[in-house]
């Protein structure tokens, strides 16, 4: 099947990028504004126990895809054919008649807590199936993940890019007023579901960062009275303080791409510099040595370079240096201040927080500083994190005033589809983890 998929992708790349006349393909560019219409007939419950979960999975697959803003669901009330059986032949003319360009069909089996989901994707206007049938096995409790996996597969086949639905995000859950705010580490699915706390509120915690494989989280804790970096095992929820170079405060950590090292900021005598440390041994190397503030380091996907912020010019600006330190070149030159740079997983863009004329923005620019684009604007937008496929950015937005609260938002890298992540409490400092295996 894999060989067939590759052949199909090659075929699609070679062909014209017009969904109506060639094979179905949605090329995501800044120019895509009209969402691609798709239909998801209710997944077939293959036994009675599967009826409810089959309905739930169908709705979530549709919600995942339409939630991207790239796809538009055609309501079931418009369907001419029912396609109530997974095995039946597709009545393409009936789906063409309602302008469904893609049709997703599925079947669900439940035995005990075991859940099996099968799925097929059809290119309606070509009258062909896209890729082969796929089958996912999981638990009934974990039904949302099965739906996300189906939606990821459909997204991947139609766009040719990786998905991001079956992923999780660590963040800081907030409650209480501004002058007595309680902060706890928490984890959730990409859509805000299945939120769980990872720490209690006994100590102030900030800025969790997922490891590349999603097994651990680095974060900053004030449990000792000063900022220190902790590492948390996501499965056991055990934590330990990371050994860092001697200094009074260690913060702003991120994992290296292989998960064995951490790049972070260390403050000593009023000066803040960037260091790299080995997580197992604690051995550390200083990477910057200016008397200014150097913080918020983020590695390039190949691990060879670090983008960071520094006020060495007088205000916060973004710089890129070798992962081993040394000379840095400034990449931000627009009005205002540039902070919290994050290298995209594709390597082509830097997301950042920009502060200018009393407003905060989330923006992106190329790694040479060109093509700056601001995606958002508000009283306080801060701390972008990339979806695993580099298409979506999540960040925190805080409202102003005595009753100000923070929440998480996501926005397409195109600047479209800005929307809040539904959560029961305030939230800040999101870090998007990898697609789950």
């Amino acid at each position: 099947m894999k060989r067939f998929l590759i052949a199909l992708v090659v075929l699609m790349l070679a062909g014209p990028v017009v969904a109506q006349s060639g094979p179905l393909r949605l090329t995501i560019t800044d120019g895509v504004i009209e969402p691609l219409p798709f239909a998801v007939p209710s997944f077939e419950p293959e036994n009675a126990e599967a009826a409810q979960v089959a309905a739930d999975i169908t709705r979530l697959v549709a919600l995942d895809l339409s939630g991207t803003g790239l796809f538009r669901e055609i309501p079931a009330s418009a369907f001419i054919s029912a396609h109530s059986s997974f095995a039946q032949t597709v009545a393409y003319p009936d789906w063409r008649a309602i302008n469904a360009q893609a049709m997703i069909s599925g079947a669900v089996t439940v035995s005990g807590n075991q859940l099996i989901v099968k799925f097929r994707l059809y290119d309606v206007f070509s009258g062909t199936e896209m890729g082969g049938g796929l089958q996912f096995a999981g638990t009934v409790d974990g039904w949302r993940r099965m739906a996300h996996k189906v939606a990821d597969a459909a997204y991947r086949r139609i766009t040719g890019e990786g998905g991001y639905f079956d992923s999780r995000i660590v963040f800081v859950s907030e409650s209480g007023p501004k002058d007595n705010r309680q902060k706890r580490l928490a984890i959730m699915d990409f859509d805000g579901a299945n939120m769980q706390f990872l720490t209690d509120s006994s100590a102030l915690v900030l800025a969790p960062r997922f490891s590349p494989t999603g097994d651990r989280v680095l974060y900053t804790s004030f449990a000792s009275g000063s900022p220190r970096i902790n590492v948390l095992d996501v499965t056991s929820v055990g934590t330990r303080q990371l050994q860092t170079a001697d200094g009074e405060m260690a913060f702003s950590p991120r994992f290296s791409r292989d998960g064995t090292q951490v790049i972070y900021s260390l403050a000593n005598g009023g000066n803040t510099d960037i260091y790299r440390g080995d997580i197992a041994s604690g051995a550390s190397t200083r990477l910057t040595s200016a008397p200014s503030i150097e913080t918020a380091p983020s590695l390039s996907p190949d691990g060879s370079q670090i983008v960071f912020e520094s006020d060495r010019s007088g205000t916060q600006q973004m710089y890129i240096m070798s992962a081993n330190g040394g000379d840095a070149r400034r990449i931000s030159f627009g009005d205002g201040r540039y902070a919290t740079p994050v290298w995209s997983p594709r390597g082509d863009l830097i997301a950042f927080t920009k502060q200018n004329a009393g407003r905060f923005h989330i923006g992106v620019m190329r790694t040479d500083g060109s093509e700056e684009r601001l995606l958002t604007s508000s009283f306080l937008d801060e701390g972008p994190t990339w979806s695993p496929n580099g298409r979506v950015i999540m960040f925190m937005r805080e409202t102003q005033g005595a009753g100000g609260t923070s929440s998480l938002y996501s926005v397409d890298v195109s600047g479209r589809n800005l929307k809040p992540v539904p959560l029961p409490n305030g939230a800040s400092d999101p870090s998007w983890g990898p697609l789950q295996p």
């Binding site: 004030f222 000063s226 009074e248 405060m249 913080t295 102003q400």
Partner: protein, 162 residues
């Protein structure tokens, strides 16, 4: 932990907040502050009469003349009350990103620490830290509140500085 000590602690916070309006997040650190405000050797006297904090202009860590006058008073108090240690907590207002504000708060607490040391307070009795923008004492989003939040607070302690 029974309820009783909790009530006692809450009472302490209410009392200190009512008398001196200290940083509420450090009220617990001033457990030793039970002697009366009229006792010049008490941390309460330090907080209220000497002045436990200095303020800063936007995005700076430069001590003002007014700030230096307060710190001169802190030097005198710390020299005549040699049993006490001090943790200097730097803070920033909410106009800035989280990591930068931690560093900025640290610049502020270090400016205070260096000034106190330059006037003769042993460095071993002083520790500087920062809470960035995480612990505002005024919650409005206007300069009137920001001005009080851009501060370095000298918290008197009998505990070890470890």
């Amino acid at each position: 932990m029974t309820i009783l000590p909790k009530i006692a602690l809450m009472g302490l916070i209410v009392i200190t907040a009512g008398c001196t309006n200290p940083d509420r997040f450090t009220a617990g650190a001033n457990d030793a502050a039970q002697a009366g405000v009229n006792d010049p050797t008490s941390p309460l006297f330090f907080n209220q009469t000497i002045g436990d904090r200095v303020l800063f202009a936007v995005d700076t860590s430069t001590l003002t003349d007014e700030g230096k006058a307060i710190l001169d008073g802190q030097v005198g108090w710390l020299q005549s009350n040699a049993d006490y240690l001090a943790i200097i907590e730097g803070h920033a207002d909410e106009q800035g990103t989280r990591e930068y504000n931690i560093s900025l708060g640290f610049r502020r607490s270090n400016a205070v620490r260096e000034y106190l040391v330059s006037k003769g307070v042993p460095a071993t009795r002083l520790r500087a830290t920062s809470y960035g923008k995480e612990r505002p004492i005024q919650v409005c989003s206007q300069e009137s509140c920001y001005a009080s939040n851009r501060r370095a607070v000298t918290v008197i302690s009998l505990a070890s500085l470890s």
